[in-house]
């Protein structure tokens, strides 16, 4: 059973290019082609066995039927008459019965026959060919068992294929994330990528698991049952098919109608969920502004809209089952009536009717299953399209031309920006002509209003983005000639958004660096001032960090600073690294940092100007350009933009 997924009858999404998507899916399943083929052959064989079975069952019924009617014919009568052991008296009774037979109805006749003396009764008593019954029974049992085994093996194979394929897709997506340029993530939401990893891959796996085999089985059953019906008796075959098609036409109409409500329902559900989310997360504002009456009103409106769609879509989808039943019964009666007509005229045997009763079901069931399988294929195609779209995104520039390598321990620490030009998209330049020189050991601060391009400078320095023009040199080597990995080795970067992942404090601090002892970790924690805080946590370094509220933003920020310190590299970038910490703590951290950055070239972005007063060089940026440079005192003396910005802090 698949994991229950969403409301039943969810709308299948339409893919843009069904054929292309399926082709692509099929080729990416290459390593599993044999398994899939075996599985499909098994499915087909299982279906064929299911088709043979009714025929055998009809044989069985016929054999039993043959043993029901009394065997009265001239031959038997002669035998009875010539049998010396039977009393004359009894022979007379039998002859009388035979003569009067035409005047009695069948029930009366039968009871009279049952009343005949044993000597005669034994002659005319019908008997079933039990050896034949047994033989057919065994054959049928074998057919059923083999069919079940095929079915089971086929499902095992498909499950293996679909789950391993899903695993491969997930791995591919996860690795792709790390090969995409940051630009991609600026333009796409996290939720979008996430839903591809889970929902879309899941859709593919779940639907593939069932739909392919179902499709093959159903098609085989469908075509096979038509064939078998025609082989058995064409009049009956036409009866069964016509009767079923009338029913399905009816069902198609309903299906079409309900589709609309399902789409509508999905939309309304989305609206309502969005509204609930909005009100719940704004709960204190709603409360403080007495907005609850208004909220209730809007909620009720959305809720009753959903109610209407819910009602209609559920009703219509609930109709399918009863209609299917009716179609089955209708076919059944039609087969029986026509069958009876034919039996009475001795065109067919009763066994044929029994076989047809089963054929009617075999014929009607696959039709709806084929329809279902087709919709699942549609959702597979749509999901696969989205996954492929992600996997096909252009990756970061290749690094074959990066010939130089800077050894971490030998770097002196000089960085130079030379007429750098850059824009996130081609028609909007953010950094126009940026040149600056940072000598080894200098502390460079970048300030300026939001949108001035401060973070962009850092992004370029880290080679997260490729510059459009100009050059950035580290120790006189162009970063164009260095691999991204090499550059990243040289920098410690601490960002404004406190990124803490699900894991222990130790894992978060060590991150991917190996061979870090606990002593080293404690040392750094002491420097940053979170030693006490970590000790108060229930498991010390082993306590889990996550989305929990136990760790404040400020503490998380200190953790990320500690992580940066453990990493240790010749260059340091602090991008608003202390903005979530109160100013007193910040001062403590600053002191620790200063000790740490001694001799290191560092870049500091801050909107709290107090943080950067002691920088060697302050770059004041506005609209992608440096408009002022100098030390704090020089810039204040200049009485320009910086001074203005600075003084606005204490205006009254």
């Amino acid at each position: 059973m698949p994991r229950p997924r969403g409301p039943r009858g969810g709308i299948p999404e339409k893919s843009k290019d069904f054929k292309g998507s399926m082709k692509r899916l099929f080729s990416s399943l290459k390593s599993w082609h044999t398994l899939i083929l075996i599985s499909l052959i098994l499915a087909m064989s299982s279906a064929i066995l299911a088709l043979i079975a009714p025929n055998k069952l009809s044989d069985l019924t016929d054999t039993i039927t043959l043993g029901i009617s009394p065997k009265i014919n001239e031959e038997i009568t002669k035998k009875i008459m010539s049998d010396e052991s039977i009393k004359l008296e009894d022979k007379q009774t039998f002859m009388n019965l035979m003569e009067n037979a035409q005047n009695m109805d069948s029930d009366e006749l039968i009871s009279k026959i049952d009343g005949l003396p044993n000597s005669i009764y034994n002659y005319i008593k019908p008997s079933i060919d039990m050896t034949k019954v047994k033989k057919i029974g065994i054959v049928l049992a074998i057919i059923y068992i083999v069919s079940a085994i095929f079915n089971f093996v086929q499902q095992l194979l498909m499950t293996t294929v679909s789950n391993n394929f899903a695993k491969k897709l997930r791995t591919n997506i996860s690795q792709k994330i790390n090969r995409l340029p940051l630009k991609y993530f600026d333009q796409h939401e996290t939720g979008d990528v996430l839903s591809r990893v889970t929902n879309d891959v899941d859709t593919i796996a779940q639907n593939m698991n069932h739909s392919l085999a179902t499709l093959v089985t159903s098609l085989t059953l469908f075509l096979g049952s038509i064939l078998m019906m025609f082989i058995t008796n064409w009049i009956m075959a036409i009866t069964a098919i016509v009767a079923s098609i009338i029913g399905f036409g009816f069902m198609g109409v309903i299906l079409k109608k309900s589709q609309k409500y399902f789409t509508q329902r999905q939309i309304e559900l989305g609206n309502l969920n969005g509204y609930i989310e909005e009100i719940y997360s704004g709960h204190n504002v709603v409360k403080a502004y007495n907005g609850d009456k208004q909220a209730n009103k809007e909620f009720d409106e959305l809720n009753s809209k959903l109610y209407i769609c819910n009602k209609k879509s559920q009703f219509l989808s609930g109709l399918m089952q009863p209609i299917m039943m009716f179609v089955g019964n209708f076919g059944y009666v039609a087969v029986c009536v026509v069958g009876a007509l034919l039996t009475m005229n001795n065109i067919i045997s009763f066994g044929v009717i029994v076989a047809f009763m089963i054929y009617v079901r075999l014929f009607t069931n696959p039709l709806s299953q084929i329809a279902q399988a087709m919709t699942s294929l549609q959702s597979i195609a749509a999901a696969n399209e989205r996954v492929c779209e992600f996997l096909d995104e252009p990756e970061m520039s290749n690094q074959e031309k990066c010939s130089e390598y800077l050894e971490k321990s030998k770097v002196k620490g000089k960085i130079e920006f030379k007429n750098v030009k850059f824009g996130y998209d081609n028609n909007r330049t953010i950094i126009k002509d940026f040149s600056v020189l940072a000598n080894p050991g200098q502390k460079i601060a970048i300030v300026g209003p939001t949108g001035a391009g401060k973070t962009t400078i850092v992004n370029l320095l880290m080679k997260f983005y490729d510059i459009n023009d100009g050059d950035i040199l580290i120790d006189n080597v162009s970063t164009k000639k260095l691999t991204r990995e090499n550059i990243h080795q040289l920098f410690v970067m601490v960002l404004q958004d406190t990124w803490v992942f699900d894991g222990s404090v130790r894992d978060n601090l060590k991150f991917n660096k190996e061979n870090v002892t606990d002593d080293q970790i404690w040392q750094v924690c002491k420097t940053v001032g979170i030693e006490h805080f970590i000790k108060t946590l229930p498991g010390g370094l082993d306590s889990k960090l996550g989305d929990s509220d136990t760790v404040s933003q400020g503490q998380k920020q200190l953790l990320t600073i500690a992580r940066g310190m453990i990493e240790d590299a010749p260059f340091l970038i602090l991008d608003e690294a202390t903005s979530n910490v109160d100013t007193r703590t910040e001062e403590l951290v600053q002191k620790a940092m200063d000790k740490l950055t001694e001799g290191k070239t560092s870049f500091i972005i801050a909107h709290r100007l107090s943080t950067i007063r002691n920088a060697d060089k302050i770059l004041v940026m506005k609209d992608g350009d440096i408009i002022e440079t100098g030390s704090h005192d020089e810039l204040i003396a200049k009485n320009g933009f910086y001074a203005d910005l600075y003084n606005s802090q204490f205006q009254l």
């Binding site: 089971f152 499950t159 504002v285 991204r484 990995e485 990124w499 991917n512 802090q649 205006q651």
Partner: protein
């Protein structure tokens, strides 16, 4: 689970009873059909039957099938009404309940959990009702009725059917036993895989800066493998279900015929024909019995999931809100615009340590009182006590000389204009966001809204938006920047024209210049309103009538900037961390 069904309204119950009635009819019709089937069989078997007789029986059977369809449609209609109705009402109930919650209850459940409880969990139960209601009623009726019909026909056949039912139920039961616990594991792994991907995406710059791509990929791969293995195990287990089901059903038919052959062989001629038609009928009733037990098994598979949801919903509905309305609902006190804390202490109900200890101060009409202190010193908690987001543990909070607990919350909130730390935007327009809520007076006019935005320094950017004041604000305010959101939130408080303003660190998203001009124009406009301001920047508080300095939940100093600089060590430290000595003296 049963408790949740108490939420059915009288109308629902009436509808359910109607459903039961029609289901009984449907079952009766469904079970009547095999009778006609056997009649037809008999007629075909017996030589010399009239065709008209067969047609008559066929017509009856079809009539049964049609009426069964009609009653199924009626049942389906009522069932969809019931389930849609149920979820409509239940969702409404939960929503209203959550509306009444205080911060304490919200925190206890967490916002995201409350959202899933109102949406997914309700859908889950709705599904159980819409699918299950019919099955749950129909299956037992069908099973009992069908069993009673066949029970006296033949012990051998009945035993066979019973055996098949037991095998099926055992299979389902054992499967559930093995697989259900694994479902929970799979669910957790899916959450984990989501978590790892999310962290890789949100921390993409950190991951790259640390060259930690491989590290993250390995972490992902580990969970991916676990997930795949668990999924494989589950689905392989379930692969057995379908073949077993088919095998059992086929075996039943085969078995009935096989046993039938022996029974017929032994009987006398009169008995043979009866037995034969009984056999055909029995095989169809036997199928019905198995089907109804399968339906029951399906419900038991759905049940545990729905049960979990029901439990989660009940938890919300049963939660008693701690904050209860007082009785004062009209404002007639002599004091206006005052806020007073008398020996206020506060701790979370299950916490050991106090977040606020013995705080006392008074803000008079027209005064500005600022609160400053390091992260975690309790500033936000303190002002959250005024609009009763929490209630005090000890002491009293008085607004206009009356304990806040004695007001109705509506009246209390009408006196207050609250701006949270994180600006909240509602889907709508700029104007609808600013004019949000109900202050017991008339709705704000567009002129008042414009004025409020002007005071909040938002005119410039709002005028630049495509539809100005009617510009669309997207869900969560994603189409406006942080600073813009904050200004709209402040304008919202201004448009409310309250006696008391509460700013919970509302100015930190603004740059110094905007912060300054905003506060200046606000002061001019609201000269007779009282303001409580939580702040981080010295510049924001420097001009306040009273500054309350908090440290670890205790008040370590109250006074003006100048006074505190002289006599409050902590205040001095905070100030010096932001400004130099000379600057402080000049200020």
């Amino acid at each position: 689970m049963l408790k949740i069904f108490k939420n059915f309204s009288k109308k629902d119950i009436f509808l359910i009873l109607t459903c039961v009635f029609f289901i009984v009819i449907q079952v009766w019709l469904d079970l009547k059909m095999p009778d006609y089937m056997s009649q037809i069989t008999r007629l075909i078997q017996t030589e010399g039957s009239q065709m008209s007789e067969i047609l008559k029986q066929g017509f009856y059977m079809l009539l049964c099938a049609f009426l069964s369809l009609v009653s199924a449609i009626i049942v389906g209609y009522f069932a969809s009404l019931v389930s849609a109705n149920f979820s409509l009402n239940l969702r409404g109930k939960i929503f209203r309940k959550v509306e009444k919650f205080g911060m304490e209850e919200i925190k206890k459940f967490s916002t995201s959990s409350l959202i899933t409880r109102t949406t997914n969990d309700v859908t889950q139960i709705e599904m159980l009702i819409s699918l299950g209601l019919q099955m749950l009623i129909k299956a037992p009726i069908m099973a009992i009725w069908a069993v009673s019909k066949i029970l006296n026909k033949s012990i051998q056949w009945s035993a066979l059917t019973g055996g098949c039912v037991i095998i099926l139920l055992m299979t389902v039961f054992i499967l559930m036993l093995i697989v259900l616990p694994r479902f929970t594991i799979v669910q957790k792994l899916i959450d984990k895989i989501n978590g790892v991907t999310r962290e890789n995406l949100t921390g993409i710059r950190v991951v790259r800066a640390f060259n930690a791509e491989k590290y993250q990929e390995n972490k992902f791969e580990e969970i991916n493998t676990k997930l795949t293995n668990n999924q494989l195990f589950n689905q392989k287990c379930f692969a057995i279900l379908n073949p077993v089901m088919n095998l059992v059903m086929h075996s039943l038919t085969l078995g009935i015929y096989f046993i039938g052959a022996y029974l017929i062989e032994k009987a006398n001629i009169e008995g043979k024909i009866t037995l034969f038609s009984d056999m055909v009928v029995f095989s169809s009733y036997g199928m019905q019995v198995i089907m109804s037990f399968l339906m029951l098994a399906m419900i038991f598979m759905m049940w545990p999931r729905a049960q979990v949801s029901a439990k989660r919903i009940n938890e919300v509905l049963d939660e008693e809100e701690k904050i209860k309305d007082g009785e004062i609902n009209s404002s007639d006190s002599k004091e206006i615009g005052t806020v007073e804390f008398r020996n206020v202490s506060f701790k979370y109900p299950d916490a050991d340590e106090y977040l606020l200890k013995n705080i006392s101060f008074k803000a008079n009409k027209g005064e500005t009182v600022a609160f400053i202190g390091s992260t975690g010193s309790g500033k936000s908690t303190l002002i959250n006590l005024v609009p009763r987001f929490y209630d005090v543990t000890d002491g009293e909070v008085l607004v206009d000389g009356v304990n806040v607990k004695n007001y109705t919350q509506e009246l209390l909130h009408n006196k207050i204009g609250y701006v949270p730390q994180k600006a909240i935007m509602f889907t709508g327009t700029v104007a609808s966001n600013v004019g949000y809520g109900d202050n017991g007076k008339e709705k704000a006019t567009i002129e008042e809204i414009k004025k409020a935005i002007e005071i909040a320094q938002g005119t410039e950017f709002v005028e630049k938006m495509p539809d100005k004041y009617d510009s669309h604000i997207a869900r969560g305010g994603t189409n406006v920047s942080g600073g813009q959101k904050q200004r709209i939130a402040i304008a919202r408080a201004i448009a409310r024209k309250p006696e008391i303003y509460i700013f919970d660190d509302s100015f930190s998203a603004l740059d110094y210049k905007t912060d300054y001009t905003l506060r200046k124009s606000l002061k001019k406009f609201t000269s007779d309103a009282t303001s409580l301001i939580v702040a981080q920047r010295i510049g924001t508080v420097i001009n306040a009538d009273k500054i309350v300095v908090l440290d670890k939940g205790e008040c370590v100093g109250i006074g003006t900037h100048k006074e505190l600089l002289k006599n409050c060590e902590i205040y001095k430290e905070i100030a010096l961390s932001q400004l130099s000595k000379e600057e402080l003296e000049n200020a």
